[in-house]
């Protein structure tokens, strides 16, 4: 065996490895630019330029969300030369101790990062890196400091932009921005620590549409980290691009007016344009000025106050308050009864108060009258025919069959589930089916008599105000709806695809006429419950509701659409603890409709009375 030849095997091994490594290194260092770009990113020689967020217009083309320039006072420790702490503290209006504390805070706060692996904050402060010493200074604040910065080496100003809401309204719709969380940065590398992200409302739902495209600039720096020139003549640079504006279906004038009407009250208003599903206004009362939550300083000062407020201004009532719908449900029951053929437009039922309480009125001779009088016994009898159709011999099985049929109808109205709207944080409401009652009572142990309170929209049934406004829009359209949504166009691209799809209910168009006639009687005929909503020249169709509230005074509710022919607005108004539906909700709905259709209000006394009323609202100092 010639062992000496094995020397060559070993030598060729060495030769091979050295050769392969050299080829690889030549590729990495000379040919491939990827690693150089990555190194620039690591060494922070890669600047990311964030464009200002997209602006938002209302349906009339008014700019309702804009950007305003703010300034950060940046500092780089290595560049600081003999800092005169006393003079610097005086310049920014702090004490010397506060300045010293802020330096420490930067090292421990901004200068450290959360280590996923150990789960601890790990120091990573670098003296050559720029950190914001003061954040979000206004132009006035900065203009006092800026002229003197030449005396303080290592400090410089940097412009950033923040949101501005000139109309000071629609806070619950627009939402707000706040700093990204660590988890969000890990999921989406678009963000860097300290960036803002949409936290609620439109700002959150349309985050990707609003944030734009960030630019990247590679720079060559000197040893002192000063930018000298752009890298490779800007070959790899990209420009930042602001996102296209969003156009909302909201009418900011109507929205602001609604917030004024609802001031010092609790409740909500939802107004929808039936023909498009665009939300014209969505008031959640009490509301607040969205400018209160712009920037870190404002958020930390104002957010806790809003969160502690006993009137719950941060609670998005139109989306999350789940009320038993009350009388509006009678409209839906009428439609289902007609479609199922168990009643006709001319069916009459006696007002038998032994079944359920009712107010004093003559017995309804047809559906329109039943709606006009809002007769409870009428609907007990009508809905019994829907639930107990006599198809099955067993009474319980028959109720199960009937309820599930009813359930399918109800679901086609977009109830019992979250609407696919462009807003997060909706509640689904509750529409019971046989599974629900089986779980509650047991299989085949319940029948109509057990569940009869759903006939008049009480009991287990719960809807959100948004869903109820959508019911009104469906009735105005005679049987179909577009999913309610805020944004009518992203740039010039139109709304999201899900808002271009017409949803049909299971009710035929012809069955709507007697119901709409009933709603006309409610407002326009003496003896109707909603005459407070009556208007000259325009026929308003409405329905009052009084939602029983076990915790106190009933909620005042009113639903309406107008005009009767070719409806332009469908509206639902809730005033908490205000009592009977006709008393407060109806006049507010009337004022809103008038404001929207005629742009001015004639009855100034009524307007003043509504604005000034304080109902169940706790004063906060």
């Amino acid at each position: 065996m010639n062992l000496d030849a094995r020397r060559n095997v070993i030598l060729s091994f060495i030769f091979l490895v050295v050769g392969i490594y050299l080829v690889r290194l030549f590729y990495m260092q000379v040919i491939d630019d990827t690693w150089t770009l990555r190194a620039n990113e690591i060494a922070e020689k890669r600047k990311e330029i964030f464009p200002p967020r997209g602006v938002i217009f209302d349906r009339g083309g008014k700019k309702i969300v804009t950007n305003q320039t703010y300034y950060n006072l940046m500092m780089v420790e290595d560049s600081i030369v003999d800092l005169d702490t006393a003079a610097f503290a005086k310049l920014i209006g702090w004490t010397r101790q506060e300045v010293r504390n802020r330096f420490k805070e930067i090292v421990d706060g901004e200068g450290s990062y959360y280590n996923k692996i150990t789960g601890k904050r790990t120091p990573n402060y670098q003296t050559i890196r720029a950190y914001p010493f003061l954040k979000e200074l206004t132009l006035e604040e900065m203009s006092k400091i800026a002229p003197h910065l030449a005396n303080f080496k290592g400090f410089y100003e940097e412009a950033t932009s923040a949101r501005n809401y000139p109309y000071k309204s629609a806070a619950n719709i627009l939402g707000y921005l706040s700093e990204v969380y660590r988890e969000e940065i890990e999921i989406d590398h678009f963000y860097k620590p300290g960036n803002n992200i949409g936290r609620a409302g439109i700002e959150r739902f349309y985050e990707k549409e609003l944030r734009g495209i960030k630019g990247i600039k590679y720079i060559v720096t000197s040893a002192l980290n000063n930018a000298i020139e752009s890298y490779a003549d800007g070959k790899y640079d990209t420009t930042a691009r602001q996102a296209d504006p969003l156009k909302m279906g909201m009418d900011v004038v109507l929205q602001t007016y609604g917030e004024r009407l609802m001031s010092k009250k609790k409740g909500c208003i939802v107004a929808i344009e039936p023909s498009s599903g665009e939300i014209l206004s969505m008031v959640s009362a009490p509301s607040y000025d969205p400018n209160l939550l712009v920037g870190k300083r404002n958020i930390s000062a104002n957010y806790p106050k809003l969160a502690r407020d006993p009137n719950l201004p941060l609670f998005p009532r139109p989306l999350q308050a789940e009320y038993p719908p009350g009388s509006i449900f009678k409209l839906v029951q009428s439609l289902i009864g007609l479609q199922e053929g168990v009643i006709t437009a001319n069916s009459g039922f006696p007002c038998d108060k032994s079944m359920v309480g009712c107010h004093n009125h003559p017995s309804a001779r047809n559906i329109a009258e039943a709606i006009k009088f809002s007769c409870n016994p009428y609907y007990y009898q009508a809905v019994r025919r829907i639930i107990q159709q006599g198809v099955k011999r067993n009474n319980f099985a028959d109720a199960e069959y009937g309820l599930n049929k009813w359930y399918k109808y109800i679901r086609s109205f977009g109830l019992g589930k979250e609407l696919d709207a462009d807003v997060s944080g909706q509640r689904p409401g509750l529409i019971p089916n046989s599974d629900f009652y089986d779980k509650w009572y047991g299989h085949h142990t319940w029948a109509f008599s057990t569940i009869r309170s759903i006939s008049i929209g009480q009991g287990e049934v719960k809807l959100t105000p948004l869903q109820m406004a959508n019911i009104v829009a469906i009735i105005a359209n005679k049987g179909w709806y577009y999913t309610p949504h805020f944004v009518k166009s992203i740039g010039y691209r139109g709304p999201l695809p899900q808002f271009r799809k017409k949803h049909w209910t299971m009710i035929d168009r012809r069955h709507f006429d007697p119901v709409i006639e009933g709603m006309r009687l409610v407002v326009n005929e003496d003896g109707g419950t909603g005459k407070q909503a009556r208007m000259d020249n325009i026929i308003v169709c409405g329905k009052t509701g009084t939602v029983q509230n076990p915790h106190g005074e009933d909620h005042s509710v009113f639903f309406a659409f107008a005009p009767m022919k070719n409806p332009k607005i469908a509206i639902a108004v809730f005033v908490e603890n205000a009592g009977w539906g006709g008393s407060w909700a109806a006049p507010i709905a009337q004022l809103m409709i008038e404001k929207y259709l005629k742009r001015k209000v004639t009855d100034k006394d009524k307007e003043k009375r509504m604005i000034e009323a304080q109902i169940a609202f706790k004063n906060v100092d």
């Binding site: 065996m1 094995r6 070993i10 490895v17 030549f26 692996i117």
Partner: protein
């Protein structure tokens, strides 16, 4: 009895010169990477470069001591040296853990790692044992004895745990291969158990070690490049190659190259035989790389995870992939000529982007500062040293000296290959130092002493009569 000679007579000046060059380059790199404005003096012993200078001087002093002692003692005392190292390796297991490993003996920053010295003592004992064997003694028993000389310290080192040094110990298998001590006897036991088969040797058994390593090397590279996508521009034709097809592409390239070389240098008689070996090799290697690539995709998720963790392909509890990515960025950003001395923007200790940039990742600042040109110089130096040691090995009269020299060569080669491989994404991140460059006392002393013993053995090679 030998006559009195000056210490430097018969010293192998080229190797010694290369060593000194490396030490100076290494010190310069440590100075650059750990530079502190407030203590710029090289002799400031509170700084890393000051301490590194101290270790270098101390190592040279140890080298002087080695030269004062007759080289015969290494062969004579190989067993006691080996045993005392084993004792240290056991003792160190009871020491408090530093960075999760029981590897350090001593106090504070002036501790030593017995594992570093175990390399020397194992080399010595292996050289002694194998040199005592004749060709006829290549039996299962001798193979197992030689293997256990490696295995005992390897197991103790794995207990620390120190995966890097553990892997380095497999370099001794190449030395055994060079000396004809292969696993063939063991393989023959199995092969000849088949009725009617009577082999004296098998090709696979004799060349078991290089074959195994070639396959392992190939598999690891295939896996590491699995996620990488190459863009190759061939005559304006943009090709998108996955990493594993890149490996096969590379194999074909090597095949073509060797074929061309063969046409030029080999005789016609050899040619046909070598063609068969080459073609077979290409086929086997390509198939293996293909199987590894596809086979890996078919593994279950947790098995994949484990392998990817070991290779550092994903972020693991030690964040090795993160380190590697940054290290590669530093190396890759060096460009052709580098950023200039003390201009390493990514890998300087001060910027803190590449962890351990003065020890295990010292290649980063070097490659970043000196670029591809510097890399060629460094590779040239290492190649020269390895080549020179093998020349020295082959000129020894005593088998002990030759085997020891091969041990040194292979250990240095391993450190070089794995350490640089870590920096360029070709090897898993198992912290082992780059000899003569990385900051650290133990590795500096052990590598120097290892090399000085070789130089001393070589200087005295003519004294040996056998």
């Amino acid at each position: 009895m030998r006559k009195e000679e000056s210490l430097t007579e018969h010293l192998d000046w080229p190797l010694f010169g290369a060593l000194i060059t490396m030490l100076i380059l290494g010190l310069a790199t440590v100075y650059s990477v750990a530079y502190n404005e407030e203590a710029p003096s090289l002799f400031n012993f509170s700084e890393k470069y000051g301490r590194q200078l101290f270790w270098i001087l101390f190592s040279l002093f140890l080298g002087l001591l080695v030269f004062l002692i007759d080289s015969d003692i290494y062969r004579k005392f190989a067993i006691p040296i080996y045993l005392s190292t084993l004792v240290l390796l056991v003792v160190v297991l009871f020491m408090p853990a530093v960075h999760g490993a029981h590897a350090w003996l001593g106090v504070g920053s002036f501790g030593v790692q017995p594992a570093e010295f175990a390399k020397i003592s194992t080399s010595l004992l292996l050289a002694k044992y194998i040199s005592g064997l004749t060709v006829k003694q290549q039996t299962t028993g001798t193979v197992l004895t030689a293997s256990s000389i490696l295995l005992i310290p390897m197991v103790l080192i794995l207990l620390q745990p120190d995966a890097g040094t553990f892997v380095v110990f497999t370099s001794f298998l190449f030395v055994m291969y060079r000396e004809g001590l292969t696993f063939d006897p063991i393989l023959l036991n199995f092969v000849n158990a088949i009725p009617g088969v009577r082999y004296k040797e098998t090709w696979v058994g004799s060349h078991f070690i290089p074959i195994l390593f070639a396959l392992v090397f190939l598999s690891i590279i295939t896996l590491l490049l699995d996620s990488v996508i190459f863009h190759v521009n061939l005559f304006g034709w943009d090709l998108e190659l996955s990493g594993s097809s890149g490996v096969i592409f590379g194999l074909v390239l090597i095949y073509t190259l060797s074929w061309l070389l063969m046409q030029r240098f080999s005789t016609r008689r050899e040619r046909s035989r070598m063609m068969i070996v080459l073609t077979l090799g290409l086929l086997i290697a390509s198939t293996l790389s293909f199987i590894v690539d596809k086979g890996f995709d078919m593994l279950k998720t947790h098995q994949k995870d484990r392998i990817e963790l070991f290779l550092g392909l994903r972020e693991d509890p030690n964040g090795d992939d993160y380190n590697r990515n940054r290290a590669m960025a530093a190396v890759g950003s060096g460009g052709f000529l580098g950023k200039g001395y003390r201009e390493a923007s990514v890998s300087s200790v001060r910027s803190n982007h590449v962890p351990e940039s003065e020890t295990d990742f010292i290649f980063c600042p070097f490659a970043e500062e000196w670029g591809f040109v510097g890399v060629v110089v460094l590779f040239g130096l290492y190649f020269f040293v390895l080549f020179r040691i093998i020349i020295i090995a082959e000129r020894q009269r005593a088998a002990f000296n030759r085997i020891y020299a091969y041990c040194v060569a292979m250990i240095l080669f391993y450190h070089f290959a794995i350490n640089i491989g870590m920096n360029i994404g070709f090897a898993p991140v198992i912290g082992i130092p780059l000899p003569f460059f990385s900051y650290g006392g133990s590795s500096m002393m052990s590598f120097s002493v290892m090399l000085f013993i070789l130089l001393k053995l070589d200087a005295q090679r003519k004294d040996v009569l056998r």
